[in-house]
C-alpha cells in the first residue's frame, strides 16, 4: 500500500503519484502484482475516415460538375439527376447495406424500397412520355417479388435467427399488395408482373402462417404494442 502525504490517504496502486492530487507517493515497493483497473487500449482506426472524406469530396464534386454542365446545356431536361441519384444511392448502400448493424433482411427490404422509389421518380420525371411507366409496370412488382423470395430464402437458410427476419418479410409482403391495387385503378397498365408478385406474396404468406403461426402472431403483437 502506498501513501500520499498531502491527502493523507492510502493508495492501492503501484503507480508513482496520487490520483487525487498528483503528488508523488511514498511507501514500500510494489506489492500488487497488477493494477486493479486495466489500461486503456485505443480502438481508433485512422484509415477509414480518410477514405470516407475522399469519397465524400469526390461525390460532392461530381454532383456539382454534373449539375453545372446540365444547367449550361439548358434543354429543359435534367439528365444529371440519373447519375446524381446513383451517387446518393451508393451512399445509402454504404450506410444501410454495409456499415449498418441491422440484419440482412433489413438491408434487402430497406434498400430495394428506396431503389423502387428512386426508379419511379426517374420514370415519372425523365423518361419521355411514350416509354413512361416501365418502373411502375415492371420494376416495382418484380423487385418486390425478388425481395420476397430473397428474404424467404434467408429465413429458410438461417433458421436459427428466423424470428429476426420475419418482420421484414411481413413488411415486404404488405408492400407486394400495392401494385395489384394500382393495377385495379388503372395506374399500372401491364398487369402480369403485379399479379405474379401478388400471388407469390399470398403463397409465401400462407407458407409462413402455416409453418410459424404463433411467431407471426407474436411478431405482430410485439411490433405494434402501444
Amino acid at each position: 500500500m502506498k501513501h500520499c502525504d498531502k491527502c493523507n490517504v492510502e493508495v492501492r496502486s503501484n503507480r508513482k503519484y496520487c490520483p487525487l492530487c498528483h503528488q508523488s507517493l511514498s511507501g514500500e515497493t510494489p506489492e500488487l502484482p497488477k493494477e486493479i483497473y486495466p489500461e486503456f487500449v485505443t480502438l481508433r482506426r485512422e484509415v477509414q475516415p480518410f477514405m470516407k472524406k475522399l469519397l465524400t469530396v469526390a461525390s460532392i464534386l461530381a454532383i456539382v460538375v454534373l449539375l453545372t454542365v446540365d444547367l449550361i446545356e439548358a434543354d429543359g431536361k435534367l439528365f444529371s439527376l440519373i447519375p446524381i441519384g446513383a451517387i446518393l444511392y451508393f451512399w445509402l448502400v454504404v450506410r444501410y447495406g454495409i456499415l449498418t448493424k441491422q440484419n440482412a433482411a433489413f438491408r434487402i427490404a430497406f434498400l430495394t424500397t428506396i431503389l423502387i422509389l428512386i426508379l419511379n421518380l426517374f420514370d415519372q420525371n425523365i423518361t419521355d412520355p411514350t416509354h413512361r411507366g416501365w418502373a411502375l409496370n415492371y420494376v416495382t412488382p418484380l423487385l418486390l417479388l425478388a425481395d420476397n423470395i430473397a428474404i424467404l430464402g434467408i429465413i429458410l437458410i438461417k433458421r436459427i435467427n428466423y424470428r429476426d427476419y420475419l418482420f421484414y418479410l411481413l413488411t415486404i409482403l404488405f408492400f407486394s399488395l400495392i401494385p395489384l391495387i394500382l393495377a385495379f385503378f388503372g395506374i399500372i397498365t401491364i398487369v402480369w408482373p403485379s399479379v405474379a408478385t401478388f400471388s407469390a406474396a399470398i403463397l409465401i404468406l400462407l407458407v409462413i402462417v402455416f409453418f410459424f403461426p404463433k411467431h407471426v402472431k407474436d411478431e405482430i403483437r410485439k411490433r405494434f404494442h402501444l
Binding site: N8, V11, R12, S13, F40, K222, H225
Partner: protein
C-alpha cells in the same frame, strides 16, 4: 437444470426504462456497473458457465432491444453470451458487436467480477440480485461449500411475473400526478477527458466509523455524505465566485430512492424515484451546518409517501398520454430527445446513488473482499457518485468525465482531516 418455459419471450420496457434507449449515445451511455472483488483470482471458464446458467434463470436479462412501431421492446436473445476481460472505460456504451446485442456485460479481471448493465434493463438493486446469483453459481461451480440461505435466487428457482413487473404502473395514483416545474441545476465545469474515457476514483472508509460520524451530526450516512458533497461543490466551485452567472444556479444532487423499501414489490426492473437537494449557494456565508440542515429537510420532504407517489404518477401519466402513445417511434424518438435535452438533461449537478448495504450468505463471505458500484459520467453530469457498503467496507466510487479531481480530492480530504483513514483506488485515466 430446470429449463424455464415462458408463455411470452418479450417484455415491454418499464416506465422509467423507456427514455433511456432514446437519449443514450456514446457520450451519455446510461449504463452502470456493479462489481465484486473476490479474495482469489477469477477463472474465466467457470464464470462463463455460471453466466450462461444465470441468464437462463433471468429471462428478463437474456434480451436485446428492438424497435416496435410505437415503442422499443426487449426481445429474447438466443445468441451466445460471452464474458469479457475488463476494459479501461468505465460504463462505456455496450458494443453490440462484442456482446451479441445483450444489454449487459459480465467482465472479469484478476479478482474482479463486474457487471455493466444498461439502465433500461434494471436498476442497481436488480443488478445486485443478478450479481449475487452469478457469484453464487460461480462459487458453486468452483466447488466451494456455499449455500443460498434464502438470500440468493438460485438457478433452480423459477422466475416469476413479479420479478419483471413494471412496479410504477402498479403503485401509481391516477389522482395525484401534478407536474412540478424544475429549474436548471449547477453543472460542474471541467476539461473533458479524451476518447470518452471515464475516470474512476474509489475510496474505502470503515462503515462503523462513518456511521458514528454521521450519527454525531444527527444524520443518516447518505444525508451526511450528500451534505459533504454539496459542501465540497460549494467550497471548490462557488464560494467567493457568486457574481458568475452559472454559479447562481442551485446545486442539485440527484438521489435515487429504492422504492422497494416503500412499496412491497419484488421487481428487478427499474423501480426507483429520485429526490433532490436544491440549494442556491451564491453567498459567501454558507456553513456546513446549514447545508446539512437543508439536506435533511430535502430527504424528509422527498421521502414523504405522497411525494413519492406523485413523482411516480407523473411519470406514468406522461407515458399514458394517448397522443404520445400513438405517435410512431421514429417521430417519438426525436420528440423525446428534444424534450429531454431541453428539460431533463441539465437539471442535476451530480447524481449520488446509494445502493446501501449488500449482504451475502455467511457461507459466501470468506470469498468476497469488497463490493462496489459505479455510474456513468456524461457531458452534463460530469461527476457522479455511487455508494455501497459491505461489512465494514464502505465504498464511495466517483466517476468523472473531466480531468479535474477537485471534488474527489476535497471530499476524501474531509475525512482524512478528521482522522478517518481512507483507502483510494483509481483507474488512472489521466495517464492515457
Amino acid at each position: 437444470m430446470v429449463k424455464h418455459k415462458f408463455p411470452s419471450d418479450w417484455f415491454r420496457l418499464d416506465n422509467a426504462a423507456k427514455i433511456f434507449p432514446v437519449v443514450s449515445n456514446r457520450k451519455e451511455t446510461n449504463t452502470f456497473r456493479v462489481q465484486v472483488e473476490l479474495t482469489e483470482a477469477v477463472e474465466k471458464d467457470f464464470l462463463q458457465l455460471a453466466a450462461d446458467a444465470v441468464l437462463e434463470r433471468f429471462p428478463m436479462f437474456k434480451v436485446r432491444l428492438k424497435n416496435g412501431l410505437f415503442w422499443h421492446y426487449l426481445d429474447r436473445n438466443e445468441r451466445p453470451f460471452l464474458v469479457l476481460p475488463l476494459k479501461h472505460r468505465v460504463c462505456g456504451d455496450l458494443n453490440p458487436k462484442e456482446n451479441n446485442g445483450y444489454l449487459l456485460q459480465v467482465y472479469y479481471r484478476d479478482n474482479l467480477i463486474a457487471i455493466e448493465i444498461f439502465h433500461s434493463l434494471a436498476d442497481a438493486s436488480g443488478a445486485f440480485v443478478l450479481l449475487k446469483t452469478l457469484l453464487y453459481e460461480y462459487l458453486l461451480l468452483k466447488g466451494y461449500p456455499v449455500t443460498p440461505d434464502n438470500q440468493i435466487l438460485t438457478r433452480d428457482s423459477t422466475s416469476t411475473m413479479e420479478e419483471f413487473e413494471d412496479a410504477q404502473q402498479t403503485y401509481f395514483d391516477p389522482k395525484n400526478h401534478k407536474h412540478v416545474h424544475e429549474e436548471k441545476g449547477f453543472l460542474i465545469p471541467g476539461t473533458p477527458i479524451a476518447d470518452l474515457n471515464v475516470g474512476l476514483i474509489a475510496g474505502t472508509i470503515s462503515t462503523q466509523k462513518l456511521s458514528e460520524l454521521a450519527r454525531s451530526y444527527g444524520a443518516t450516512i447518505t444525508e451526511y455524505l450528500v451534505a459533504v458533497a454539496m459542501n465540497v461543490i460549494y467550497v471548490t466551485q462557488i464560494r467567493y465566485r457568486e457574481h458568475l452567472k452559472q454559479n447562481a444556479l442551485p446545486v442539485k444532487i440527484f438521489i435515487p430512492v429504492n422504492m422497494r423499501k416503500h412499496f412491497p414489490s419484488k421487481t428487478l426492473r427499474n423501480f426507483s424515484i429520485f429526490l433532490k437537494t436544491n440549494m442556491k449557494m451564491n453567498r459567501p456565508d454558507i456553513t456546513f451546518q446549514m447545508i446539512l440542515e437543508h439536506t435533511k429537510e430535502s430527504f424528509r420532504l422527498g421521502l414523504e409517501k405522497d411525494e413519492l407517489i406523485r413523482k411516480m404518477s407523473e411519470n406514468v401519466a406522461f407515458e399514458k398520454n394517448l397522443f404520445l402513445r400513438l405517435t410512431p417511434l421514429i417521430l417519438k424518438k426525436y420528440a423525446m430527445r428534444i424534450g429531454y435535452y431541453l428539460l431533463g438533461a441539465r437539471l442535476n449537478s451530480m447524481s449520488f446513488s446509494n445502493v446501501g448495504k449488500v449482504d451475502f450468505p455467511k457461507s459466501m463471505e470468506p470469498y468476497i473482499d469488497n463490493v462496489a458500484a459505479a455510474v456513468y459520467a456524461g457531458r452534463m453530469n460530469t461527476v457522479n457518485c455511487a455508494l455501497v457498503s459491505y461489512k465494514d467496507k464502505f465504498k464511495i466510487t466517483f466517476t468523472r468525465s473531466i480531468m479535474e479531481t477537485t471534488i474527489e480530492r476535497e471530499f476524501f480530504r474531509t475525512f482524512t482531516a478528521m482522522g478517518i483513514p481512507v483507502e483510494i483506488e483509481s483507474n488512472f485515466v489521466e495517464e492515457y
